[in-house]
Amino acid sequence: MNIDIIFKIAAIGILVAVVNQVLLRAGREEIAMLTTLTGVIVVLLMVVNLINDLFNSVRSIFRLY
């Protein structure tokens, strides 16, 4: 498995946190909220394949076909 994706997700998390703080300081709570949501969606899109793999593995391990 590629370990790079973990670092990528961590970097996105840090960035989103900083952007969130900057926007909150400027008094734009709605946009801060939107950024957080965007970050979550981007990360979800990145890991959706991995989650699929995980479910497949679980099914195959416990023979839940």
Binding site: K8, A11, I12, A26, G27
Partner: protein, 173 residues
């Protein structure tokens, strides 16, 4: 790998420049308001004390100044000189429409100038002076608002530009 690094750096640099450009808009707006105040002070002297012809008064009062409002006033003076069949209010309105989309000029100043232009030349000197004073006061309020916006959003846009660039670079990497 080399190509990736170069393109990421260019993305970050472009986004940072974009952020700086956005935050400079606030700077430039404050500058424009201050220039407008100087122009109005000069124009008041020209009209109330020297009684110069309006187009010439506008030209004299914008001398030695820069900025977007200077271009506006010069355009008004040009139209006043070459288009003799228009009233001043019509010329003023038309030219204001042209400057409406300038990103460095706020809606507040536009409204103030719109009202000011419609009253210019309609009454005696004493009331003219009062109109100038009112416009100056309103412009001062507008300047304060612009300063507040500058402090609030100027820094925000600067850091957001850099962070957005970093975000895009990380996602694409």
């Amino acid at each position: 790998m080399f190509l990736k690094i170069v393109s990421s750096i260019s993305i970050v640099v472009c986004c940072t420049l974009l952020g700086i450009h956005m935050s400079n808009r606030y700077d430039r707006r404050i500058y424009n308001i201050r220039v407008l105040q100087s122009i109005l002070i000069n124009l008041e002297t020209e009209i109330v004390y020297y009684s110069t012809l309006l187009s010439q008064a506008i030209r004299n009062s914008t001398r030695n100044l820069e900025g977007d409002w200077k271009n506006f006033f010069l355009e008004v003076a040009d139209i006043l000189e070459y288009k003799k069949d228009c009233s001043f209010a019509e010329v003023w309105k038309e030219t204001l429409q042209g400057i409406k989309n300038c990103p460095y000029i706020g809606k507040g100043e536009l409204d103030i100038m719109y009202r000011f232009g419609l009253q210019l030349g309609n009454s005696d000197r004493l009331s003219q002076r009062k109109y100038f004073e009112i416009a100056q006061q309103q412009l001062k309020t507008e300047e304060k608002n612009a300063l507040q916006l500058h402090f609030r959003y100027g820094k925000m846009y600067r850091s957001l530009g850099l962070l957005l660039g970093l975000g895009i670079a990380i996602i694409l990497l």
